[in-house]
Subunit: 597 residues, 2 copies
């Protein structure tokens, strides 16, 4: 008997085994219930939505046909994995999606035995599935590995690398191409424009079938049954509609890619908040203003037009807008090529996705000292997208690169100035800003630049309290530092530049204070604070230092505020840490250390 009112079937389907024991004629009705359940729940709680509407029949058919979890089912990215979660014992927890302690936004091995491989970033599924297919062969086990990848995911090189390798190895591997024509924005690339993909996949050693209607169970199930016992690499091309079955999402899947909630009947989205504009919007406005003045500005993005705020630029400057696909490596080297010719490219995506182009940033841009500006959105803790998406490492992996200028704004006005500074700079630079909105600083429309490597003191201690404390804060946490400083009467510096650091100011602060506190929303290991430590050591300054930042562990999902509290990077946590430090023997009883003059 069903345990949810209004859902005759869904309540009885708690595992794929339950699904497999249903009479086949009930499956279409189950798909209807799954869709309705998703719409009702996501309308209420929000999350990645439209892609999952497109995979309801596919998830149902895959779990019906294959022997999961013994067969390994690997969903790419995870934007589209909610039907899979619903069918694998997580229906009753869907309410908790993206919440701290609740269901993860994407796939996670620790969450379910049915999540054969974790995801979050795109285009990893074929590689992982191939690894599992090799393992099955070595272990002599007769299980299948199935990767489900989108046409967007297929624009990433690593997907091709895996296909090319799989085609040669010839193992039993099934790849389902979930082709809805979309990344988050419409998909790009020559492949996407072809009437037939058979020659492409066949050249790569795959037997190709399709395209078939991915919303027809009577097409999907027999096609998958056929693949179940097929030998060698198999590609099933499935056509789906992002947002399928919810009119508003079908009409505009970009708006419904990720939602904060909506009316499940009309599809009406909540009215935009009247809060301060997001950093993404600040970037977007700056980019258009700068492009008007500078005809050499070209914007490049690896398929992050919406998330990175390039929509307006793409409309107004279509010739200077390049969507490279989910292809960070290519995007960065493409920009390097443009820079060689006197253009000034701006490459925009999320901090976490720049990890994909690390070698290209070093080898193609920095070694050649080319003027490419990297706009890193979602730096620091991103909140509900969780462990795979935090921009927690960028200060560390960027500041070790010679020639690169690394900036982090504390407010919207500085974000704009830093972008202008990077564009005016003759070498490579990066501006890293957080998800969401800042403190609401007044932003002028001019294109003022900053002197490179200069910090600014934003709060002077009144100076009557001992020991004297200065907080050297980077990026978004400057605002929190200002709050925390009131109680402590600390000096607060907005460091602005992670690289080069303002060495002269750091040395002044070391002389004038008893404790320097570095503060950042990057891991402490190798972060901006560790740069401050290096400066002090190399200038023989003995001052007590405390490095505050993210801990040496992966942080799960939750709201940004919750996670900052968890990491003691909220105002109270910072005050607590500093006060504890001030009670330590070396500061409370010390004589001032001798300092080399």
């Amino acid at each position: 008997m069903s345990d949810i009112p209004g859902y005759a079937l869904l309540g009885d389907v708690n595992t794929p085994q339950d699904l497999r024991s249903l009479p086949p004629e009930q499956l279409p009705a189950l798909a209807v219930e799954l869709r309705r359940y998703l719409i009702e729940t996501l309308g209420r709680i929000g999350g990645h939505f439209a892609a999952s509407l497109g995979t309801i029949e596919l998830a149902l058919a895959l779990h019906r046909v294959f022997d999961t979890p013994n067969d390994r089912l690997i969903w790419d990215v995870g934007h589209q994995a909610l039907p899979h979660k619903l069918l694998t014992g997580r229906r009753t927890r869907l309410e908790t999606l993206n919440r701290k302690g609740g269901l993860a936004p994407f796939l996670m091995r620790a969450e379910s035995q049915y999540d054969a491989f974790g995801a979050g970033h795109s285009s990893t599924s074929i590689s992982a599935a191939l690894g599992m297919a090799v393992a099955a062969k070595l272990a002599g086990e007769n299980r299948r590995a199935i990767a489900v990848i989108g046409d967007g995911g297929l624009t990433a090189g690593m997907a091709y690398e895996a296909l090319n390798h799989a085609g040669q190895l010839g193992l039993d591997l099934t790849v389902v191409l979930n082709d809805n024509g979309m990344s988050i924005s419409p998909n790009v690339g020559a492949l996407n424009e072809r009437p037939s993909l058979a020659p492409f996949f066949e050249t790569l050693g795959f037997a190709y079938q399709g395209p078939i209607d991915g919303h027809s169970l009577s097409a999907l199930i027999p096609a998958l049954e056929k693949l179940k016992d097929a030998r060698g690499p198999q590609l099933l091309h499935v056509k789906t509609v992002k947002g399928k079955g919810f009119a508003a999402a079908e009409r505009d899947s970009i708006k419904y890619h990720r939602v904060t909630g909506f009316d499940p009947v009309t599809g009406a989205l909540p009215a935009g908040k009247s809060a301060a504009p997001s950093y993404t919007q600040i970037f977007s406005d700056w980019l258009c203003d700068a492009a008007e003045k500078n005809p050499k500005l070209v914007a490049v993005t690896p398929a992050m037009r919406e998330g990175s705020g390039l929509g307006e630029f793409a409309r107004r400057f279509p010739d200077r807008y390049l969507d490279a696909g989910i292809a960070e490596q290519h995007a960065v080297t493409l920009a390097a090529g443009l820079a060689c010719e006197g253009f000034h490219p701006v490459v925009a995506t999320y901090s976490t996705f720049f990890q994909r182009a690390y070698d290209q940033i070093i080898h193609d841009v920095a070694v050649q000292n080319l003027p490419v500006l990297f706009a890193l959105d979602r730096g620091g803790l991103v909140g509900p997208d969780g462990a795979t998406h935090h921009g927690a490492f960028d200060f560390s992996f960027l500041r070790c690169i010679p020639n690169l200028v690394v900036m982090a704004p504390s407010d919207e006005a500085d974000c704009r100035r830093m972008l202008a500074t990077g564009l005016a700079h003759s070498g490579p630079s990066a501006v890293r800003y957080p998800r969401g909105s800042g403190p609401g600083a007044q932003v002028s429309r001019d294109l003022e630049t900053l002197p490179i490597g200069k910090a600014r003191v934003v709060r002077e201690a009144r100076g009557h309290r001992k020991p004297r404390v200065a907080i050297l804060a980077f990026g978004a946490l400057v605002q929190t530092a200002l709050e925390a400083a009131e109680l402590l009467d600390a000096t607060v510096v907005d460091m602005r530049f992670v690289k080069p650091l303002d060495v002269a100011l750091i040395l002044d602060l070391a002389r004038e204070n008893d404790l320097l506190v570095t503060l950042e929303d990057n891991v402490i290991a190798g972060g901006a604070g560790s740069g401050v430590n290096e400066v002090l050591a190399s200038h023989q300054q003995h001052v007590a230092v405390m490095n505050l930042g993210l801990p040496d562990q992966f942080i799960e999902h939750g709201t940004r505020e919750e996670l900052l509290v968890q990491c003691s990077l909220d105002c109270a946590g910072i005050q607590r840490a500093i006060q504890k430090r001030l009670r330590a023997k070396d500061l409370s009883e010390k004589e001032r250390f001798p300092v080399a003059s």
Copy 2:
């Protein structure tokens, strides 16, 4: 008149303009001279050799037909670019190849206006050329961009990303596929096995021509002439022979891929040195020994079988050997898939190439805490391969990753122990070792492991000298630290683990010494030494610290020894730095700082 005895034509060809003014019937003779010149010179001086023998006619035809440097000619990787260097004014400097201050090993924009884009790593050329094609269009300039990429280079995802993007943009772009069937070892991938590549490239939006004989000027020149005015993306498939025209190199292009010199008549290679085995050999031996004991060990390499020492393993354990192609991203995630199934993969390539898989190391391995062992050969300064190849950043970009254990051996015996330790560990780990051979430590054949996070004191100061100095050395420089310590009577610690650090020992050293010197052949920024600084700060230890390591700049080519001297990381340089530091006021006149107990 020719300026080199025995070369009737070559002496008069100093620029592509000279080449273009030769009567066509003289071109085959010029090709003969180029080949002979290469063989004679490289036989004497060594360098990357066999690939360049395969591109003599191609380089000649390209510069003959295209209007270089106005047309942009972009060679991938640079292993094959010597004929191009010879034809673009660098013939007389070929003698200096790879030497400090001499010709660069690969392509370099600063070296010649004919090097349209720098290279060193593979598969960047199409992206760069596409960037230049976009630039030409935006600037309204009628120039061509030509990328020359190998079939090995085409196994990398970023090449595919670029093709897919170029195919959609439809700009005038010429890609020459230099197909010799080889990376360094034989090329892999399904694509490599196909009789025809036309369907593949045509699906990606390229007009395909070929294959033609890449050693026939009468085939190459007309084919390139035809492309010169063709519109849209063009792919010319050229078949070449690696080592062409030098019998020994044709027979075994792997041995002649890179040489230290050879007999230009017989091809005889110099006898192997009887010195200590290289770290690569230590890895190779360990891998086979470990694989015999552990049936779950699988080795994965992104096309670095030879360089990484996997040849013997591949012969003895072919089922457990996976060459993923020049596809670092895929290689790492493939390994993650294997690890999910209870296997213990070892991924082996050079430190610098791991930069290509940075996101996969984080997102697919470390987030999921999977037992994958990364064997990073060529850590630190590599010498003659120069700026693109130094493993100068790995400590910085790896130690910020949670869950990852990072090890660096000071000798061969410890290298073996660390590899065994990584394999036995339940999570991800990396062992990073230098190019060439170590101090010649006795290596046992057992599979002893180390306690994770424990350093070892390798020299105790006799203790009568003040101020007291301890050198905390990482990896290869432990040996140099031991030499340097004699003069200074310093304590020397082989830190062994970059992560986790031996916190207890660091704190002991801080209490017992007046100066801690950290020493590593990684950049100082965010390196292992900065990890030591973080430990001292977080434990409120006030001791003078000096961080020695690579400077914040890209280091060009030279011998490893020359470059270490240049960076003051040789014995004398280290002693100089420490002695200068010891003269500073804070150490010579100081009272001991108060230390929290």
